[in-house]
């Protein structure tokens, strides 16, 4: 953790501002703060909460997740692959005539088709969730803040990335302070 107590102006020029981090004490105050940033036109900001806060997606002006469509495609693939596998193995490559039934008989394929639909969908749901979230990512500037570790306990944080087109050290800090933040700090990362 490359954190020290010196004010940002006295740091070596080897580091540059990464983000501004504001800390709040309740879900209500962070929802209001997020609404304020959204209305001020910020886009590259995020909130960090110990649990998903109700109504935060709307407060941050986020679009719906496309995850459902990805999972649907994967599930359909799983179902089709299962059918293809059973048709090819039992009906084409080495037909097994059991109980006088055709090599491939759709009714007896249903259970395996169902199971593979579920398996493919579940794996896709998790892998696509990781992909959309860009996880695992063990390194992120927000972890430079020592206060930040209480996000997983009972504190609520709002971070504004320096890459945001509207980011301005003084103005953004003033805006965050006007949202009744309990604490605002600048997090820097090495150049």
């Amino acid at each position: 953790m490359a954190h020290d107590e010196k004010p940002s102006s006295e740091r070596e020029p080897a580091s540059e501002p990464a983000l501004l981090l504001a800390e709040y004490e309740s879900p209500a105050s962070i929802v209001h703060a997020a609404e304020k940033l959204r209305d001020a036109g910020y886009t590259a900001f995020d909130t960090h909460t110990p649990f998903p806060v109700h109504g935060m997606d709307k407060a941050m002006g986020m679009r719906d997740t496309p995850l459902g469509w990805i999972v649907f495609a994967a599930g359909a693939t799983g179902c089709f692959c299962a059918f293809l596998m059973m048709w090819w193995m039992n009906g084409y490559d080495y037909p097994l005539i059991i109980g006088g039934k055709p090599g491939y008989a759709l009714p007896s394929m249903i259970p395996v088709m169902f199971e593979l639909t579920v398996l493919f969908s579940a794996l896709a749901a998790v892998l696509a969730m990781f992909g959309l979230n860009k996880l695992p990512r063990h390194h992120h500037p927000v972890f430079y803040s020592e206060r930040f570790e209480s996000f997983s306990d009972d504190r609520f944080f709002l971070s504004v990335e320096a890459t945001d087109p509207k980011f301005d050290l003084a103005k953004t800090r003033a805006l965050l302070e006007s949202t009744h933040a309990a604490h605002v700090e600048l997090v820097e990362e090495e150049r």
Binding site: S26, P27, A28, A34, D46, T47, H48, T49, P50, F51, P52, V53, M56, D57, M60, M62, T65, L67, V71, M85, M89, N90, D93, L96, I98, G99, K101, A105, S108, M109, P111, V112, F114, E115, L116, V118, L119, S121, A122, L123, A125, V126, M129, F130, L132, N133, L135, P136, R137, H138, H139, H140, V142, F143, F148, F151, S152, D153, D154, F157
Partner: protein, 481 residues
């Protein structure tokens, strides 16, 4: 999962003490892996390790000598091994019911018990898988069961329910495991953030290991959005999955032409029994754990009582299925079917049948009385009875149907050998060892989910009071009457 707003008009109260703060929840759950293990844990762990040793011995002797060391023989070719398989896999079902089905029904009380129950599912399915694997006789050829190219150029027969079972159980295990892990990620981040780097207490190792598996979770709302949707989808997928798994297990029996097995009631009957036995085992484990680790504030009497109600419902379903089986055996007019059922109740295995009925049908009926379903000693004894009864149910279905073949010259009687018993006790040891390690090293309660259900998780919590302070005239007075 969003906050829980109790409806006072119908007598609902807060799930947990409203004085509990977010930090209290973090503290109570995380402390288990940070403090020294309580003495009770060590005692249980030593017992579990002993049983695990029995498991090792029983498996080694079985592999060395072959399945002849078991009591199975014609006509009873399936006995304790398959009984144990069905029993264990059934136990797993409660975990998925709590984590997925109760999630879809928005039963917020599940948050205190779901992590615990999901862990039970995973370890129970592991134990279940061992039995059919060993029962093949030559487990090193178990890969024949999977659609893998082999030297015989043969493929599995996909018309066999045993192959459906392979797919159902392995999918079930995989999906349960990833569902569990996804739920764990935010809580692993909590443990990571609490690990203080420094000497003693392995702070650095903890930070590294929990940090690695937490994947760099930073509670971002842009992550929570995808995360919550993935969780919802996994719950929606697990719901039909769990119903399918025990249905497919029941097809192993129902698609055969054995009297006593060849019935259409099997799939729903097996699923109800699975949920019934699983809840019983979750509760048995929970009653012990909440005392050993002092979790009474999070796993309250309300949770236990609700679980007892589910056991009462599923136990009654099972009792109905038993009587319906008898009715249909009589109504079918099939002599063999009638014989099997009368033989179950009065034949050489009458003791197993009546043990099953008294444990599964009679004992849960005591939960109709509020005093009994809120008494810890009573529910502890009943859950143990249910576990025993559900084991006997599978034993009765399997062994009594097989031991009287169609020809009286092929009749037999099955008795277990010491290796049957050893492997069963051993599987309990394997389960308990895994479970105790889980309790000790992973958050046994879903920290972030419990926090999300507290009243102060509501972004409008306390807003009404402050609005009244600021502008009392702006809101109309509530209408009385």
């Amino acid at each position: 999962m969003s906050y829980y707003a109790p409806n006072a008009a119908i007598g609902e109260t807060h799930l947990l003490d409203p004085k509990l703060s977010f930090h209290d929840i973090t503290e109570q759950v995380s402390r288990v892996s940070e403090d020294k293990a309580p003495r009770g844990w060590w005692i249980l762990f030593m017992v579990a390790l002993t049983a695990l040793g029995i498991f090792g011995g029983s498996v080694s002797w079985l592999l060395w000598e072959g399945p002849g060391v078991w009591g199975n023989n014609q006509p009873v070719a399936w006995a304790w091994d398959i009984t144990n398989f069905v029993w264990w896999i059934g136990i797993g079902h409660a975990g998925t019911l709590i984590s997925a089905i109760l999630f879809l029904f928005r039963q917020k009380w599940r948050t205190s018990i779901n992590r615990f129950a999901e862990a039970m599912t995973i370890f129970a399915v592991m134990c279940a898988g061992i039995f059919p694997g060993l029962h093949t006789g030559r487990p090193w050829f178990d890969y024949y069961m999977f659609p893998l190219p082999n030297q015989m150029t043969l493929w599995p027969n996909f018309k066999s329910p045993l192959i459906w079972d392979i797919f159902a159980v392995s999918t079930y295990f995989t999906v349960s495991a990833i569902f569990w892990y996804v739920g764990l990620i935010p809580d692993l981040a909590t443990l990571r953030d609490r690990s203080k780097v420094g000497p003693g207490r392995f702070g650095k190792v903890r930070k590294l290991v929990y940090g690695f598996f937490a994947l760099g979770w930073r509670g971002s709302n842009r992550h929570w959005q995808h995360y919550e949707r993935a969780y919802l989808i996994l719950a929606a997928l697990s719901t039909p999955l769990v119903l399918s798994v025990h249905s497919v297990v029941s097809f192993d029996f129902a698609t055969s032409v054995m009297p006593g097995w060849h019935t259409t009631i099997f799939p729903p009957y097996f699923v109800a029994g699975a949920v019934f036995s699983g809840f019983a085992l979750v509760e048995t484990l929970m009653i012990i754990t909440r005392v050993v680790f002092k979790m009474e504030a999070i796993i309250t009497m309300k949770h236990l009582e609700l679980m007892n109600k589910i056991m009462l419902a599923t136990g009654s379903l099972v009792g109905y299925a038993y009587s319906m089986e008898f009715f249909i055996a009589w109504y079918s007019g099939n002599e063999f079917e009638r014989f099997v059922f009368i033989n179950r109740a009065t034949g050489p295995y009458w003791w197993a049948y009546w043990a099953m009925v008294s444990c599964n049908v009679i004992s849960p009926q005591l939960f109709w009385f509020k005093r009994l379903r809120t008494s810890i000693p009573v529910m502890f004894v009943i859950t143990i009875f249910i576990n025993i009864g559900m084991w006997f149910e599978r034993f009765v279905i399997i062994v009594t149907s097989l031991h009287r073949d169609f020809l009286p010259s092929s009749w037999g009687y099955f008795s277990p050998t010491i290796w049957d018993i050893g492997l069963f006790i051993g599987s309990l040891g394997l389960f308990s060892t895994c479970f105790l390690l889980f309790l000790r090293w992973l958050p046994m309660i879903a920290i972030s989910e419990v926090k999300g259900t507290l009243a102060q998780a509501d972004p409008h919590h306390g807003a009404h009071e402050s609005e009244h302070d600021g502008a009392p005239a702006s809101e109309p007075a509530p209408a009385h009457g």
